[in-house]
């Protein structure tokens, strides 16, 4: 029995909290074990066809009462359910002797194998498997309904909810807690669109039972047993105390449209200009004149201040057609970013020279950096290429662990570095960014990442190299304060977050930012590091 006040951590969805009684979703009746049929292939095939039609009809019925997002999802799911190839594959299983339900599940698994290993499809796979279960349940005459209460107010708790489950949510569902599922799971998407407070990936919720009172506190990423109004975590508000932030806040852009939008924000220049978009749809390498013209347009539109341009960051998972990248088992660890220099030196030089033409024509201050640098010699080679191509400040991205140890060797050779925290986390923790099961390791508040960032900032200060951060973490206002406390010289945020990050960095002094860092460093895990830092921040903003 969980005692009053017990905190169960997960990942919050939404900004408002709710208190209500727990309603545990009963585990559905078990699907019968795989079995053979009595020998009548034709009868089993008809049975399967009818069951698929019945499940499709149920889904349409659920969709009729649902919101627009759900309707679209159901239409896509029904197309998969009624897939002809899937049916034919199941019929082959029936002919091999398996009964209708088993055959359909086996057919779905055959496709699941073809689709696995690809993050975009992984979550759809769960949906398709759920459909297979429904077809098998229909054949076996088992009900998979959730039987949710229609009146009252409840926090429903379950493993994870499929589209067919969430479509059955009644008005009595005012909060949702799932034991599995991440921030991009179907449950999270639906709760966000329906504004239902939710906490997902909450392992401790397995111990919640019917009748308990709980507080669902998404801002605090937690569920509190018998939590009260006073336990609700409020979103931090920052009151600017000075006109300028303690370090410059730049914007991340990837297109002309981004550059225009960013110049309407308070961003001081651009901290990351991703150049891939200009090449992804080109079938042949654009001429230098074409490249220079698009760069010039973007440089002119960008917000006032320096513009940090990253040379092409393509790989076999984001291929550029004219660079002919082959298939790789492990694209994240493959030939990507600056490693293209082996086969495509001319293209990288061409990109730098086009950029120089655009720099001269626009009169803007341009810094260039190369992605995916792992050794000091790569960094030095790039610096030489860039300096002979144009009048740039020259730097590199720091996103591989190996280069962190080489920063002293770059003293006097580079003007700046910029940390890409998303890839740095992926490589530091050996955790695939695209794998939803590893989301918790990629939390920027992980003490391991905070330690690495501190080391990078210290090494840069010692070597006299300007340092910035342009990864996702720099878009989180509280984390940006932490980065300023470490000694980074600037941050670059997604353009929608520039205002919020500036506000936070204008609400504290450098000394206070260091106090926030000290508090975060005492955390022994990501949750503690974050809550310690937020504790100091809220004390500062109240004074």
């Amino acid at each position: 029995m969980l005692s009053s006040g017990t905190i169960l951590s997960g990942m919050g969805v939404g900004l408002s909290a709710v208190t209500a009684e727990v309603f545990r979703v009963k585990p559905a009746g078990a699907i019968p074990e795989a079995a053979k049929h009595a020998g009548d292939n034709a009868a089993e095939t008809i049975r399967l066809k009818q069951a698929i039609e019945a499940v499709a009809a149920q889904m349409n019925e659920l969709a009729a009462a649902a919101d627009e997002t759900t309707v679209e999802i159901f239409e896509a799911l029904n197309m998969l359910l009624e897939d002809e190839d899937l049916f034919d594959t199941a019929v082959i299983q029936i002919e091999a002797g398996w009964d209708a339900g088993t055959s359909f599940i086996r057919a779905v698994e055959e496709f699941a194998e073809l689709l696995s290993g690809d993050a975009v499809f992984e979550e759809r796979l769960a949906d398709i498997r759920d459909l297979a279960k429904r077809v098998a349940a229909n054949i076996a005459g088992i009900s998979l309904g959730l039987d949710l209460p229609k009146t009252g107010k409840f926090v429903i708790v379950g493993e994870d909810f499929s589209p067919a489950d969430t479509a059955q949510f009644t008005d009595a569902v005012i909060g949702v807690v799932t034991i599995q599922g991440g921030p991009t799971s179907h449950t999270a998407i639906i709760c966000r669109s329906k504004s239902i407070p939710a906490v997902v990936s909450c392992t401790g919720a397995a111990d919640l039972v019917d009748g308990m009172q709980v507080l669902v506190d998404p801002v605090g990423d937690r569920v509190v047993v018998e939590g009260k109004e006073a336990d609700i975590t409020k979103p931090l508000t920052f009151v600017a105390k000075s006109k300028d932030p303690i370090i410059p806040v730049r914007a991340n852009i990837g297109s002309l449209e981004d550059a225009i939008a960013a110049s309407a924000s308070a961003a001081e220049g651009v901290g990351l200009f991703r150049t891939e978009l200009l090449y992804l749809s080109a079938k042949t390498q654009p001429t230098s004149a074409v490249q220079a013209a698009s760069y010039e347009e973007i440089l002119r539109a960008a917000p006032a201040g320096p513009i940090v341009v990253r040379t092409i960051d393509a790989g076999s998972d984001k291929p550029v057609p004219f660079l002919n990248m082959g298939h790789e088992e492990n694209p994240a660890l493959g030939v990507r970013g600056y490693r293209l220099i082996e086969d495509h030196r001319d293209f990288i030089i061409d990109q730098l020279e086009s950029l120089e033409l655009a720099r001269q024509a626009s009169g803007r201050e341009v810094w260039v950096m190369a992605p995916m640098i792992a050794t000091a010699s790569e960094a030095l080679e790039f610096a030489e290429l860039a300096r002979s191509a144009g009048n740039f400040k020259v730097g590199i991205m720091v996103e591989t662990p190996s280069i962190v140890y080489q920063i002293p060797a770059l003293q006097g050779k580079l003007d700046f570095i910029s940390v890409g925290t998303n890839d740095l986390s992926q490589y530091l923790f050996a955790a695939d960014r695209m794998n939803p099961a590893l989301g918790a390791m990629l939390n920027p508040w992980q003490p391991g990442l905070i330690g690495a960032l501190k080391q990078i900032s210290d090494a840069c200060a010692a070597a006299g190299i300007y340092s910035g951060v342009c990864g996702e973490s720099a878009s989180d206002p509280a984390f940006a304060v932490l980065l300023a406390g470490m000694g980074f010289d600037s941050v670059s945020s997604s353009r929608s977050q520039v205002g919020a990050v500036r506000q936070a960095l204008s609400a504290v002094s450098k000394e206070q930012a260091k106090e926030v860092l000290t508090a975060a460093l005492t955390g022994s895990n990501a949750e503690e590091a974050k809550s310690n830092a937020l504790g100091v921040l809220s004390a500062i903003s109240e004074n």
Binding site: L80, D83, D85, F121, L280, D317, K318
Partner: protein
């Protein structure tokens, strides 16, 4: 029966996923034509199964071959143009 052959490019930022696959299959079924698609060198598959299309794992920027069996070349080209539209995401 004439076969019109062409190519289309996946421009959708998340590749050839469930939605465009479903849209293409719906269009093909409504047209009543036999349409085959696939990556160069990997053999073509009939475009009547969204799962089979997703199993090609076509990524943003990749080119796909497309073949339409129809004596009405204009109709075939219209269909190919529409498929390219769906692949824009």
């Amino acid at each position: 029966m004439t076969t019109t052959k062409s190519s289309v490019t996946v421009l959708d930022p998340i590749g050839l996923h469930a939605r465009p696959a479903g849209q293409i299959v719906k269009l093909v079924k409504e047209s009543g034509l036999e349409v085959r698609m696939g990556k160069a060198g990997q053999g073509l598959v009939k475009a009547n199964s969204p799962l089979r299309m997703m199993a090609m794992k076509a990524k943003t920027g990749e080119e796909l071959l497309i073949e339409v069996d129809s004596d009405d070349e204009a109709a075939a080209n219209d269909l190919i143009a529409q498929v390219q539209e769906f692949l824009k995401g």
